[in-house]
Symmetry: D2
Subunit: 168 residues, 4 copies
């Protein structure tokens, strides 16, 4: 189970029951949280800040590595641009470049990266094509009635279709 | 042969020898050029403005269609963002969404879209995965000595490798 | 009277009755229009492209100067950013920098630059403070019923208040 | 003395000697730091995230207010755009709009907002014209040899000139 860690004070509790800690996009440069999370020794999923340049993203990961924890997975989840037709702009250029520049694995979140359920499958396939090491996809039993992020969530049938398309 | 048309005064000359007219990114909202090019009846390759929203891109294509020419191919070539590690940010979200919203074919230019030769292959594969109907790739016999865009041009060997990877 | 020139074919007609030709933001890199407008010898108001860097803006002006017409006025009208609370982001940094880098006069359009009537006055005053050589403001007798751009138009009373605040 | 607070663990020490705590741009959505800083009861200077929409900026301030501390000063310090001629793009639109939407005072940092010493004075004057309640300016006895941010720092003579221009 991957759990987003928002507050340092919850770190002990969350670490006791999660398998991996996620640092969310708004906290990519919350250096306290990076360092304290790293010190748990647990694997860390670091999401790219919504306006972080690739260089800043890789440097944020260094805070975790420098704290003695090398179990870091990067996650591209879309950047903020002028385009309003999609919630964010998924930056697959940076995924391909991160594969060149860094030894760290990088996964892609096409749910936040597009904000539209219908775009999750094509962008998931594109993420694989560009070399991503994994995917993070939002799934909900009833997206229309989801409390949050329903528009970008797949239902079970759509998720099965995605898995089938990936041949996984 | 696809030839970029920059000036209306050259339209007759270019149309006499090219197979397809390209409207470049800086001219996407040059309505004179759109309409006059359309009137030649030739197929038109319309490149997305570097800061055009998808809606504006599709509306620019309407100028050509409305002039009685339905031989339009759209081309995503990267948008302008804060990211400086790549020349542009290739927006594959918009390619997938254009496939939903429009009947027009859309191709992808990963050379301008990334600005780096090493990224052309992975992004070309991603473009195909996302549903693009074609690719436009810069190739040069000797990229290091190219007069322009050498950094993003493939040499013949790299191009052969790309074609092989595409299984085309 | 300043009149926006959209189509080269209308150039003769417009030039015969206008005092100044305006090149709109979407045409800043329409090189045909720049050159043909320049050749009329009339003063040219060149609006910055909504995503043009300052360097590109100044280089577009060079097309006019290079055509033998030195009667060019630049106009900053807001750039496209991620901020959605205002229609555009008025870039007064670039106005101040243009005053350093170029001998050309530069004016500011706080109407398009903000998209909100209530912000026109403060940004007009800021434009003057930053060194702008003039202002271009939308005024309408009845903004609520304007056919376009009503939200950013001043009524006569607001315009009188602006003029008074400027001490002009 | 205003001191930037980067780490919660330093809060007690910094609070014991500073007059005001500054939350830096990278920490605008570090909710732990907002809440813990607020609880000191000290005045808080909250800098806008470099890609935060105005709405997000005002909502971040709510975390401080909601923690029972109403001594909040907002600070606009430039946003991240495609423009590379200046370090950031100072968004005076948002300053004027914040004055409409919020009761909180807002100051402007033209040093970070422009990244160029020569632009600090004109933008400081513009900030005042747009209604800003104060300024935050970097000054150094010898900017050319400053360890950081020298390019945007005023020397004493330039600072005296700024104060004189402001008539303060």
């Amino acid at each position: 189970m991957v759990t987003e860690i928002l507050h340092i004070k919850n770190l002990e509790l969350v670490a006791s029951c999660a398998d991996m800690l996620q640092i969310g996009t708004r906290n990519m440069q919350n250096f306290d949280l990076l360092v304290e999370s790293a010190k748990t020794g647990m694997p860390i999923l670091l999401k790219r800040g919504m306006s972080a340049r690739l260089e800043e993203f890789l440097l944020a990961a260094e805070y975790i590595l420098d704290s003695g924890n090398d179990r870091v997975v990067l996650c591209e989840r879309g950047i903020r641009t002028f385009e309003t037709a999609t919630r964010n702009t998924l930056d697959l250029n940076s995924v391909a470049l991160a594969c060149e520049l860094s030894h760290l694995p990088i996964i892609v979140d096409p749910s936040h990266g597009t904000g539209r359920a219908s775009l999750v499958k094509p962008l998931a396939l594109a993420a694989r094509a560009v070399g991503a090491h994994g995917l993070m996809v939002e799934v909900h039993s009833d997206p229309r009635n989801a409390l949050s992020d329903g528009q970008q969530s797949l239902d079970f049938s759509q998720f099965a279709d995605l898995i089938s398309a990936l041949g996984a």
